[in-house]
Structures are given as structure tokens and as C-alpha cells.
Symmetry: C4
Subunit: 212 residues, 4 copies
């Protein structure tokens, strides 16, 4: 298991890089990594922090109830969603980005639906996907300010799509994860690339068809 | 209250970052922060300076009439607009950016109208907005080279939209503000993100509908 | 008058920055500054050099016939065009960039025509333009591999548009200039910004109308 | 002939720059350079490595059968395609990038077809192209996970298009090459620029016509 020092340093570096790409403007975006599983301890960005110049000191440790057990400040309001993803998937790291393209793509999908992405080589960047002849269903979950409810909705969507590598909150962004931070980072890049490709491809085809 | 040294250093850093994002090409963009309120003293970028490589020495201090009381060079021609925003809102910092997307979005709005932005999680990056179920009205003010008139028009628009967090000058850019520089910077990022999303979303929906 | 050392250092810095913006991919782009006027000596990028990592040693000095009088390598093939611009405008610096947006915009204009840009505040970044209520005519010159002819065509276009601050070579890029490098750099940024705005604005309005 | 140390350092630098441009998200992209021709030895990125922060130690040497003869890890799965390109073209360096625009452009071409690019000055950045009045045919090869087959298909496409400077794998990216790394890098930039121009130009003209 990685140490708090290692994980908080890596999360801060990654957070600065995602900010530089324009995927976490304002104080959007929040990132976590599992520090231990028994008991569950998650290193997570604190609430309301600017991701520009993110530092290891902006991270704290929460327990499985989302209560801070180490570090200054309040944990991200979406901590419960991170915990839900860890619970549902066994992930070692969870990243939530908020890009222009993931926002646009999430808007068009029908309620309870998903965005379907198929046929692209980039899909092979997703864990255990071995061919471009793969169809990734990215569930779209309705946005809410009730984070307990959001966590339940996210867990339900993941239960309905056990093969998913990420999900979209409508008008709110991407959640993706991985066994470790390196895999979760790769998944962010794969999805953000594909979201832009799919959005531009639909626009070129003459419309915003909303996804499957 | 922060010192001149602190504010001029922070304004210069921020100005370089906004330049790097492409939001202040040429010599566009100007930035200010309140140094004291009684009497009112504003630290502001000097006129005509390239924002690439902006330095603390490019800042000067003006009084409530916009007259330079410290520093070399002429204050930004739009100093009176900054003062108008401070007067109308009590802001501690005012940022004016000039991006491709804010220019495009400002063009379509009817005279005396506003751009309406609703339903996006990113709106929560605006001060005191607690839910994505918020409708932000961004007033659009006609552009003019008569800055005294612009300042009056801006104050009138803010009086008509006391809840606004920013406004657009048609074909000229965004004015936003905050209690302090950190909040004003966050507002720039939130608005620039949303302007791109709204513009692309309208284009995908098949037209430039001009806003409400 | 600035020294060779100063101008070559500034040209190299500027060249690296324009490369980073994506405005001089491959070995496209070439940049010059006047070292002396009597006799005319121009510091200019050498031919075929990658603008990524451009160094002062990549510059040489040419005389008014375009013959290298100092430095290693061959002068840019477009040296004669730079000389034509200096001759026609009295410029102290000439910058030629090759961006996606300037390429796209140049394509739609009719032969012998120009791209018209009006109403934007950013126009005030052009020398002696004091209001957004300005109409900039950017002449579009046909591309050719006969650089002597290109230079004559450019001089003819500038003679027909003495107020122009820049011109487009069709499918080939922007030429702009200024009294000095700082002004020429500002003109590049102003034009590249406006080209993107105009292109996107036309696309949003439903077509590629080609300009006036 | 350049040394392993030199080539691995240059490949790593180049890989980091291509990552920064967004042309090799996730673990996509792979790069090689010929270390010797008799016997054929290729320096190539190892499989599955993140191109962000690519290091010389991420390179290994393969023989003409694609077997690693030096370095840690497995060679890129596409090594056989690199070898096929070297075999067909005599290239000294082969670069495979995976951008949004190359993905989009590859999608529209008919099976067995090519993307035609003509009339742009940027084409002169391709080796031995001396005029913008050049038509570049970029063959589009169907994607497959059978890399032996892909290598044969690539060699067949290059045999049918001996003048080609690059080719597209459908939904998978660009392969281009050069006598040396500098030329191959220039070709990447030229193609990525042109792919964006052609895609945007088609979109502005009102559709995704799919290429010739």
C-alpha cells in the first residue's frame, strides 16, 4: 500500500495537470485514492480548493463514513460519491473531471440512458478492453445537490452497468476510476479524448442526437 | 487589507496565467484589486501593457476618481469601469477578460438583453450559488469608446441585475469580480467555461439563437 | 537602433512562443526585424528551421536584395516578401504565421478580395485604430511559389489597401508587421484572435460565406 | 549513425511534446527510430507506457523480427507495423500519433480509400513537396487487432501509394515517417495541422463528405 505522503503528492501533481488541460476550472474536480481497505481510508481533495497550484497539503484522509480523520479543512462535498464508486467497483483511485466536452455530451442523453462509444482504438486504453470492436456504455446519472442520493444513484447505475469504466453526471462531469492512480488517470484521458471525438463526430453528421 | 506588493504580485501572476489561456490577447484584458476602501484605492494594470510577461511593476494605484496616485504610466482606459463595478457591487477585485467565446456569445444577445445560463453544475462556482438549478442572467452592455458612459451603463445594468456575477460588453469581453482576487479568478474560469459550453451547445442545436 | 544580438534574441523568443500557440507548425512561419534602414539590413529566420526551440543562431542578416551578409544558412525563401512589406509600409518588424484559422479564413475569400472585420473591440489592438467602429480590410493575395511575384502582388495589395495592418496569403497564412517587434507581435495576436472569432461566427450563422 | 543514447533521449523528448499537444492521450502513440540498418535495429517505445513524462529508459531495441534485444519491458504491440513502414519506405524514424482530428478524418473515408489534401502551403513541409499545388493522398487502412495483418495491409497501402508521406488507420491514428526524427516530427505537425484544417473546412462547407 502506498503512503499518505506518496498519494497526496501524486494526487496534487495530477490535479495540477488536469487543471492545465482545462478539465477542472474554478474549484470543480475532485480526486481520491485508497490509502487502506481495512479499515477503508481514502485520501481526497478538500472542499472548495482551487486546482491551480494544488498541493499535497490540500488533501485529507476520510473514513468509510466520509468523516475526516486527518488533515485540515472539510472533505470534498462529493466524498460520498467517491466512496460509492470505491464500494461498487473496488477501485483504488477515483477521479472526477468537469470538461467542456463531457458536459456537452452528458446533456443530450435521455434520462436513465447512457452514451454509447464504439469502434475506436482509444477504447483499448480502458482496463481489460482488448479490441476497438468494443462498445462502452457510459451511464448518465441525473445531477442533484443531495449527495447521498447521488451516491445511491451512482451505485445503482454501476450495478446496472457492471462493465462500465466511467459515468457522466448530467451537466456536471465525468467520474472514472482505476485499480490505482495511473490507471484512473489513463481512463480520464481516454474518456475525455473520446467525448470530444464523439461530440465533434455527431456535430459533423449534422446534429446533436443525444446518444443511446 | 493586503499590501500593494502582495496585490501587484498576485495580479501579475494572474494576468500571465490568463494570457496563457488565450483570454487576453494583444493588450486586451485589465485587472484590479482594492487596496483600501476609505479612501478608495485600487491597484490596476497600466494602459496598453502586453499581458504576456506581466510584472508587478506594470501595476499602479488609482484613487476614486481614477487618478494615478502611485506607479509609472497611465492607468488602464477602463479604470472608470472598474471603479463603477466596485461602487455597484462592493467587490474587492475586478477582472476583465477578452476571450473568443465571450466575444461570440456577446454578439448574439438582443440590445438591452442578457445571456441566460441555467442547469450546469459549474454555476456553483459563482458566489452564493448553491445549486445547479440556478439561472444566471449575464447582462450584455453595448460597447462604446466613451468610458464614462460605459461605466454608467455598467452601473445601470448591475442595478437592474443585482444578482449578477458578471457582465458582457458586446464584442468586447467579460467583466467579473469577487470579494477578493481568488474569488474573481474563480468567476473568470466559471464564466469562460460556461460561455464555451453554451456557445457549442447552441451550435450543436443548429443555430446561434442569441440568448434571452 | 537595436543590436543584432537584441533582435535575434527577441525573434527567437517570439518564434518559440508562436510555435507553442500552434501558429507555426512544421517549418512554417518566418520572422524579421529591421536592423538598419540606411543601408537596409534585416534580421530574419533562416530557411527550413523548426520553430520549436528557435535560437538566436537561427537568424541571419540580409541586405535589401535579400542576400545574406551575416550568419549561417540560407535566408528564408520568403525574404523577398518581408522586404516588400518593409518597402511598402516602413515596418520595423514583419511576422508571418500559419495558423489553422488564418488558413481557413483565407480560403473563402474571392480572388482579388479581402476579409472584412468590423465592430470588435479587439481591432483597437491594431496601430492607430481608436474605436471598435472600425472596418479592417485584410487583403487576400493568391499563393504562388514564385516569391518575386508574391512580393510584387503583396506590394500591389498594400498599395490598394494602404490602411491595412496585415494580409492573408491564400491557404498560406498571415503577414503582419509593426513599427517594432512588440507592435508586430500584438498585431499577430489581434489578427489570430479575430480570425478565429470571425470563422466561428460565420459557422454559427450557418455557413462559410467567404468574406467581402 | 546516431547512438542508442541519443535516439532514446530524442524519442523521449519528442514523446513528451506530442503528449502535451494532446496527440497521444492514455497510452496511445508509439515512436521509433532506426539504430542500424545491417542488421536492422529499431529503438522503440515499450508497450503500455504513459507518454506523459516519457523517459529514455522507456525505450528498447528490437531486431528485424520485432524481438527485444535490449532494454526492459515488452516492445510496443505495433512494432511490426513500424518495421513494415521501415521496410516499405526506408524511413529512419516512424511516429504514430492518435489525435482527435486524425481520428475524425479517418472515419469518413470509404473502405480502401484515402483522404485527399490539396492546395495548402503547409503541404510543402512534406519531404520533396515543392509547391502547394500538390495533392497528397493519405491512404486509410482498416483497423485490426491482428498486427501482422495490419503490417501487411500497411505495406500494401504503401505499395499502392508509393508517394505517400503518411497513412491513417481508421479510428486509430496517423502513421508518418521521415529520413530522421526531425523530418518525421515535421511530418506529424504538417499532417495534424492539415487534418484539422480539412475537417473544419468540410464542416464549414456543410458536411462530413468522407474524402476521396
Amino acid at each position: 500500500m502506498a503512503s499518505f505522503e506518496h498519494l497526496s503528492t501524486r494526487l496534487a501533481e495530477l490535479g495540477r495537470a488536469l487543471y492545465d488541460r482545462g478539465w477542472a476550472m474554478g474549484t470543480s474536480g475532485n480526486y481520491s485514492a485508497v490509502l487502506s481497505t481495512e479499515p477503508l481510508r481514502l485520501v481526497i481533495t478538500r472542499s472548495g480548493v482551487d486546482k491551480d497550484g494544488l498541493l499535497p497539503g490540500d488533501m485529507l484522509v476520510v473514513d468509510e463514513a466520509g468523516k475526516a480523520v486527518m488533515g485540515a479543512g472539510k472533505p470534498s462535498a462529493e466524498t460520498v460519491v467517491h466512496l460509492g464508486v470505491v464500494h461498487a467497483t473496488g477501485a483504488g483511485a477515483v477521479l472526477h473531471t468537469h470538461s467542456v466536452w463531457n458536459t456537452l455530451l452528458s446533456e443530450g442523453a435521455p434520462e436513465g440512458g447512457s452514451v454509447e462509444i464504439a469502434g475506436y482504438e482509444m477504447l483499448k486504453g480502458l482496463r481489460d478492453v482488448a479490441t476497438h470492436e468494443h462498445t462502452e456504455q457510459v451511464p448518465v446519472v441525473e445531477n442533484t445537490q443531495d449527495y447521498e442520493r447521488m451516491a445511491r444513484d451512482v451505485e445503482a447505475a454501476l450495478s446496472a452497468h457492471p462493465e462500465a469504466h466511467g459515468l457522466l453526471l448530467r451537466g456536471h462531469g465525468l467520474y472514472t476510476w482505476g485499480r490505482d492512480l495511473a490507471e484512473a488517470k489513463r481512463h480520464v484521458e481516454v474518456f475525455e479524448f473520446l467525448f470530444e471525438v464523439v461530440s465533434r463526430s455527431r456535430a459533423a453528421a449534422g446534429g446533436h442526437d443525444g446518444g443511446g
